[in-house]
């Protein structure tokens, strides 16, 4: 069985802006790496971050994070999984970014953890997937 760690927007943002509070993110990244778990972030999460005023900061971070977290593009396979997550939770497309985080666990591995700043939203979407654990930053 394989496991992974999926980063939502908040952990990526904290690292990109070099916030003091990024230590919690580094703790999870170090834990995942020690446990031989791959780290992913959906391209959709990057889209959420790119919309802000700190676009250049996120670009610079994206260049640096190559190798640390694999950015997962939304292909037909993942799109199908995302649709399934939204449908199972009876959620609308306004929650598509969180749904991507849950779907990436299913698409990339058999079990995983989503690290997020909005655990309630993600937990609600993950409630039909016992293989997905949600951790709050």
């Amino acid at each position: 069985m394989s496991y992974c760690l999926v980063l939502d927007a908040e952990p990526v943002s904290r690292m990109a802006h070099n916030h003091r509070s990024a230590d919690d993110v580094y703790a999870y990244l170090e834990a995942a790496t020690r446990l031989n778990r791959r780290v992913y972030t959906p391209a959709c999460v990057m889209a959420e971050l790119f919309r802000g005023a700190h676009r250049q900061t996120i670009y610079a971070w994206y260049a640096k994070m190559q190798g640390l977290a694999e950015v997962v593009d939304t292909d037909m396979f993942l799109a199908d999984q995302v649709g399934g997550v939204l449908f199972a939770a009876g959620a609308g497309s306004d929650r598509i970014v969180d749904a991507h985080c849950v779907a990436v666990v299913n698409a990339q591995t058999t079990r995983g953890m989503v690290l997020t700043g909005d655990p309630d939203d993600v937990r609600d979407l993950a409630s039909n997937y016992p293989n997905v654990v949600v951790a709050k930053l």
């Binding site: 703790a27 834990a31 640096k64 951790a135």
Partner: protein, 104 residues
């Protein structure tokens, strides 16, 4: 592949779907023939667990994973060193707590 996707959607056979995806994504890349020696018990387990997958695709998936993890470690070391130079060390207790939450 779509049959496997459908099964993944209902929560079954995610591991097999994963192998199927790996096979699909690497089909166009150039291949080299190599000779490997594998532990016979592990090989037997592999065949039982993934009866429909080729040995090459399974080994390739493991190699891809191992390379990615080595890169992950390298990049994390460098980013963490940068962060710690400015903000101080990441608390080992936090790392252990994160590991515990991942192993639950």
């Amino acid at each position: 592949m779509w049959e496997l996707v459908a099964r993944a959607h209902t929560g079954y056979d995610l591991g097999m779907t994963l192998v199927s995806r790996w096979c699909g994504t690497n089909m166009t890349k150039p291949k080299r023939k190599v000779t490997l020696s594998l532990d016979s018990d592990s090989l037997e387990d592999l065949r039982k667990l993934y009866p429909d997958a080729s040995l090459s695709s399974l080994v390739e998936a493991a190699v891809i994973d191992r390379v990615a993890l080595a890169r992950q470690r390298q990049t994390l070391n460098s980013l963490r060193a940068e962060y710690e130079a400015e903000h101080g060390p990441v608390d080992e207790a936090k790392i252990r707590a994160a590991m515990a939450s991942m192993q639950r």
